[in-house]
């Protein structure tokens, strides 16, 4: 039962496509990933928050981005480090990653695991056709998955594919006996580079963007990083700021 709605705690079976269209109970669209079994009720804290004093973060200069990254990692570690990989039903490394990615509905292609890839998106209307190009069937080299589909005759290709991904569980490699089932969060292929992401955001607008009078978008990192102190906003887009030099000369 790897996914759980962060809002209402609804648990989704492994590989469930339900959550692609939001939580059926509350409409929430954020899900956390549990490699092992979880109860409907929220699980125990992944890290023992009561017994363990909050450890200060490792000192790594003053890189805020690093800390944000670390915070994200910690959260991510905590929700993915439940050491019970044997409980997983599919037990496939690629399947786990795909399932985790499925919530973002990112139509990536993964030639290594065509079955699980297709199954994750089998709800989509074009899933049956998508399995063909994804499995590398660009012309004359039909992949196994396509053979399986055509062999089932009149059964809808997406259904057959989804079904086969469940039935095929036995033939999948065994679950790893130890270690994590999903990729390490720090794997550069697995997570976006937070530094680059932040830079992109910073480039989009400065500290405060006036969308319209009374409507503002704030760039919190920029507001935090800048020396100057914005003390007043004008409707015409000007700021009144206090600069640090002025403080020092006034400060006897």
């Amino acid at each position: 039962m790897p996914h759980q709605c962060t809002n209402c705690g609804h648990v989704f079976a492994d590989g469930s496509k339900e959550m692609l269209s939001g939580c059926p109970d509350c409409g929430g669209n954020k899900f956390q990933y549990h490699p092992g079994d979880v109860d409907e009720a929220p699980a125990d804290p992944p890290a023992d928050a009561d017994a363990e004093p909050p450890e200060p973060p490792e000192q790594e200069g003053s890189s805020v981005a690093g800390a944000v990254g670390r915070a994200a990692n910690k959260v991510r570690d905590a929700v993915t480090s439940d050491p019970d990989p044997a409980a997983r039903t599919t037990g496939d490394d690629a399947g786990a990653t795909d399932a985790a990615d499925a919530s973002s509905a990112d139509a990536e292609t993964d030639p290594v695991a065509p079955e699980t890839e297709a199954s994750a998106f089998a709800d989509e209307p074009d899933a049956d056709s998508s399995s063909a190009p994804e499995t590398g069937g660009e012309g004359d080299e039909p992949a196994e998955a396509i053979d399986a589909n055509t062999a089932t005759g009149d059964e809808d290709a997406a259904q057959a594919d989804a079904r086969s991904s469940v039935v095929d569980t036995d033939s999948l490699p065994d679950a790893p006996s130890e270690g994590r089932v999903v990729k390490e969060p720090d794997d550069p292929d697995d997570r976006p580079d937070i530094e680059a992401l932040r830079q992109e955001l910073n480039d989009q607008f400065e500290s405060i963007r006036i969308v319209a009078p009374g409507q503002y978008e704030l760039n919190l990192m920029e507001l935090y990083d800048r020396q100057e102190y914005i003390i007043a906003l004008q409707e015409d887009g000007q700021y009144v700021i206090e600069v640090p030099d002025a403080w020092e000369t006034d400060d006897e």
């Binding site: 909050p54 944000v68 959260v75 009374g214 704030l218 935090y224 007043a232 002025a246």
Partner: protein, 214 residues
């Protein structure tokens, strides 16, 4: 230039206190998203230990649009006395839109003004976080989803500055409060449930304040 003069004074005080010895009270910022109950908590602490309030509370988001300070709040726990300055900050958010105030029976002009002040308030809160706080009480509404960009970013900033931080899961008196969800979101920190409005579990809060910021 009244505002500037006032500001300079307060900056001077801040700078002076930066270079003061250890006997100066620690400045503890109360941070969190809008409407988490920061002012209610600040008032609760201030009333419990000084008899005064810090500022007005309301159900309308961004009621607090300027950081407010209550100095020399003396908290006694287990024979130990902790002296802190409480800074109640405006709720931090990435978007401020006057139209959300219109639902609260506000005229458009008033809503636009409030929205501008709220934006200035967020800028101020972020600035204080950079310069002027020695520790943070991070208040979350435990009926709301804690997995937000603002929360993750602020906690990250606080961690990068190595500030001691207490996470409070507020509004436990409300149905739908989910403390577990809050502690799941920030497992690297201790989460303390409370209702600042009802005064539930304040003993533990004071105990932890003394432990973390003493």
């Amino acid at each position: 230039m009244g505002l500037f003069a006032e500001l300079r004074d307060s900056i001077s005080r801040v700078s002076a206190s930066l270079f003061a010895d250890d006997s100066e009270p620690k400045r503890i910022g109360i941070y969190g998203p809008p409407n988490a109950g920061k002012t209610t908590l600040a008032n609760r602490i201030a009333r419990d230990w000084t008899g005064d309030a810090v500022g007005p509370e309301s159900h309308i988001p961004h009621e607090t649009r300027r950081a407010r300070r209550k100095e020399n709040v003396e908290i006694k726990r287990d024979g130990k006395t902790v002296n802190i300055d409480i800074v109640d900050t405006p709720g931090v958010t990435t978007k401020v839109d006057y139209s959300e105030f219109l639902e609260h029976d506000m005229e458009k002009d008033e809503a636009v003004r409030r929205s501008r002040e709220a934006t200035e308030g967020v800028a101020e809160a972020m600035h204080w976080l950079r310069e002027d706080v020695d520790g943070v009480i991070y208040v979350l509404d435990s009926t709301e989803d804690p997995f937000t960009q603002v929360n993750t970013m602020l906690i990250g900033i606080i961690e990068s500055r190595d500030l001691p931080v207490l996470i409070l899961a507020n509004k436990t008196d409300l149905e739908g409060a989910n403390i577990q969800r809050v502690s799941n979101a920030f497992p690297q920190h201790e989460t303390i449930p409370l209702s600042a409005l009802e005064g539930e579990n304040m003993d533990e809060v004071y105990e932890k304040i003394a432990e973390y910021f003493g």
